[in-house]
């Protein structure tokens, strides 16, 4: 029993040490010499692929630009250097929550950038709210944004909801059907993940309303590598429109396997990954005509300049959907700080009500959401150009039907 006793005592000692080590002593307030900005994002794990293209490079680019400009500008015209604190959430919801708590209460950062992913943005939303930080959630597609804004007043949702994207797609398809290009029958597959399900549940009513018929509608588990059975089934039902709400590995696989199966629908709409520059590069002429979420207006000079800087600084081109929005969100935050200073309350209010000149052009949020977005794009002549909403200035005309696969 003696050792048991000792163990109990050592456990007690351990817990005491632990308490001291985490308690910490807060620094005494002093003259401000820098602005601290932090973020927790998935650098490793299953989410790293997405975060590594849409989120992290833009945070890096922004930090470099602010540094080169001599610091972050405040209302009095003074510029303060920005100190960046970054954590890896390792694609775990528990880690992103704790890292955000660490940023807010331990590092006492002035502002926190949002993590990557719908689930992760929701996981940290209550914390941003509790600690009073504005949350500019970009890589989160959710139809519930209006509810979230009511619940968390300082949350901002910038990438729209599934409904927006499926309405845009239905609009394009409806036009094509009216023109007699397609027969209005759709084969649809979706990844069994928050993103895929959000979109497919929005797509069903959107297509119905547009008078389109869904002949094949299945979900597949994330991580599926072989789409041959689904492509064969989709081809059988007489549909000439193929829609896949997929993630990047699957988007790439479907593209390849559709070529092998000589599956040539007139409209081919694929999910995340279609808007990656590598998609166009890898598929070359076979990318032509493929549609997806997002898109850019190639005539927008600010965007073109941004893409050039992005490639110079980070060594790779940004994706053609969320990247530019991520960057715009940082520009808006930067501008709001310039107008209102480091008071998070005032900055949040400014983000909510102000009008900003960002890479997207004149930008103003409606009910804490960005609504002027490109919801649909298509690969045309080696560029992923925006085609929907069809009535927005700058939208290109969709090229239908999609060209037949070319043998490589």
């Amino acid at each position: 029993m003696t050792t048991w006793h000792k163990r109990a005592r050592s456990a007690l000692g351990l817990s005491a040490i632990l308490l001291f080590s985490v308690g910490g002593v807060s620094a005494i307030a002093q003259e401000r010499t820098s602005v601290k900005i932090g973020y927790a994002v998935s650098k490793t794990g299953p989410n790293a692929g997405g975060a590594g293209i849409t989120t992290i490079p833009n945070y890096v680019l922004w930090a470099k630009e602010v540094k080169d400009a001599g610091g972050l500008e405040l209302p009095d015209g003074k510029r303060l250097p920005v100190e960046i604190i970054e954590y890896d959430d390792r694609s775990s919801a528990e880690e992103v929550v704790r890292a955000t708590e660490r940023l807010a209460t331990q590092d006492k950062v002035d502002f926190i950038f949002a993590p990557w992913g719908t689930g992760f943005n929701l996981a940290v939303a209550p914390l941003f709210d509790r600690f009073g930080y504005p949350q500019l959630a970009v890589s989160a597609v959710t139809d519930k944004a209006p509810e979230f804004v009511k619940r968390w007043k300082k949350s901002f949702w910038l990438l729209g909801g599934g409904h927006d994207y499926t309405e845009a797609l239905a609009g394009v398809l409806k036009q094509a059907k009216a023109a007699g290009t397609i027969n209005g029958k759709i084969a649809m597959i979706s990844v069994a993940d928050g993103f895929g399900i959000d979109l497919v549940t929005a797509a069903r009513p959107s297509f119905k309303k547009a008078g389109l018929e869904v002949t094949y509608d299945v979900t597949y588990p994330a991580g599926t590598t072989d789409f041959t059975p689904m492509i064969n089934e989709a081809a059988k039902g007489g549909a000439d429109t193929f829609v896949a709400f997929s993630y990047p590995p699957e988007t790439f696989a479907i593209t390849q396997q559709a070529q092998v199966a000589k599956f040539n629908p007139k409209v081919m709409y694929l999910g995340v990954g279609t808007g990656f520059p590598i998609y166009g590069k890898n598929n070359g002429a076979n990318a032509e005509g493929i549609m997806s979420l997002g898109g850019i207006d190639p005539k927008n000079e600010a965007n073109t300049a941004y893409r050039k800087r992005h490639e110079e600084v980070t060594g790779k081109a940004p994706d053609l959907w969320g990247s530019v929005i991520t960057y715009a969100s940082l520009q808006m935050l930067q501008e709001a700080i310039k107008r209102k200073g480091l008071d998070r309350e005032a900055v949040s209010k400014e983000l909510s009500t102000g009008t900003f000149k960002a890479v997207l052009g004149e930008t103003k949020l409606e009910n804490n959401q960005l609504r002027t977005l490109w919801f649909g794009g298509q690969w045309q002549n080696g560029q992923f150009v925006a085609i929907a909403p069809v009535d927005r200035p700058g939208a290109a005309k969709p090229i239908l039907p999609k060209p037949v696969w070319q043998a490589k």
Binding site: S42, K43, T44, G45, P46, A48, G49, A51, G52, I53, I189, A192, V218, T219, Y220, P221, G223, T224, T225, D226, T228, P229, M230, N232, E233, P248, P249, F252, A253, Q256, Q257, Q259, V260, A261, K262, G273, F276, I278, N282, K316, A407, K408
Partner: protein, 290 residues
């Protein structure tokens, strides 16, 4: 229609079998539960990708580079890191725990190095992505290559293990590691070679898979787990077991996707796996008790 599904299933199963055969050698003969196995696969995928995208080297040629590299790398890992653990372990259980912990560490090291070099991005290129017509079904040539390679390696190694003296020695070590030296077998050398051979197979798998599957620096774990399922289902250390288990899983996935629902493919795979284990607790081809 059934034929198409059958062929698609066999081709998919070929990939699973190919991935699993190296692990079954490493675990069955060398008794090392190598959690870093999938990282070897991914490292080879990166090699093929870099050689193909920056130097324009044909991935089939990369295969000839990757296999010896995988062999040499695994040989070194065994000699430097795992041999001391084997030497000091008194029981099979303590070796199992030590090797799990050590290769778990190795997993992170290899993954971390790849992350530093390549970041967390999705890597994808395509090679040999054209259809080959087999009995009316169009099959991707690159996936067919995986199946052919799996069959060739599986068959070749099986013959090697059953028909040659060297193979008999390896099997003797697998069955009775402590008594093999009594009949003049250098058990240590045999085990090291088997582990290195497993690494070479993993590297081959990695190169072939990179031709059609998107990967990231952190996707090795997925391959390790898939390979483990196949190895366990087939019976540890049994090449034909791994081959047939891989093909069965491919068939199950394709048939369920075609005739039941694509949403249940993985559920069906795990269900079949669990069912087979409950039916034969040491895998399809496993001996009653290890």
């Amino acid at each position: 229609m059934i034929v198409t599904t059958l062929i698609a299933g066999l081709v998919l199963g070929g990939t699973y079998a190919l991935v699993a055969m190296g692990l079954t050698l490493q675990y069955g003969i060398s008794r090392i539960m190598n959690l870093a196995y999938g990282e070897t696969i991914i490292a080879a995928s990166f090699l093929a990708y870099v050689l193909s995208s920056s130097l324009g080297i044909n991935p089939l040629v990369s295969l000839l580079v990757a296999a010896p590299l995988g062999f040499a790398f695994s040989y070194m890992i065994y000699a430097i890191m795992l041999r001391p653990l084997v030497a000091r372990s008194k029981t099979a259980m303590s070796l199992e725990i030590d090797s799990i912990l050590a290769t778990f560490g190795l997993l992170f090291v290899i993954q971390g190095v790849m992350l530093v070099f390549f970041g967390g991005n999705y890597i994808s290129y395509s090679y040999m992505n054209f259809g080959v017509d087999i009995l009316g079904a169009s099959v991707a040539a690159n996936r067919l290559l995986a199946l052919v390679l799996a069959l060739a390696i599986g068959g070749g190694l099986y013959l090697l293990l059953t028909r040659t003296l060297w193979g008999t020695a390896l099997r003797a070590v697998a069955v009775a590691p402590s008594s093999a030296p009594l009949v003049g077998i250098d058990a240590n050398r045999a085990v090291r070679l088997a582990f290195a051979l497993g690494g070479a197979l993993a590297a081959c798998g990695g190169v072939v898979i990179s031709m059609y599957q998107t990967f990231t620096a952190t996707s090795g774990v997925v391959f390790t787990m898939k390979a483990l399922i196949v190895v366990i289902m087939g019976g540890v250390g049994n090449l034909l077991g791994a081959l047939s288990a891989g093909l069965i899983l491919g068939l199950v996935e394709t048939f369920v996707a075609t005739y039941v629902s694509p949403g249940l493919t993985l559920a069906a795979v795990y269900l079949i796996f669990l069912g087979i284990l409950l039916w034969r607790p040491s895998g399809l081809f496993g001996k009653a008790r290890r």
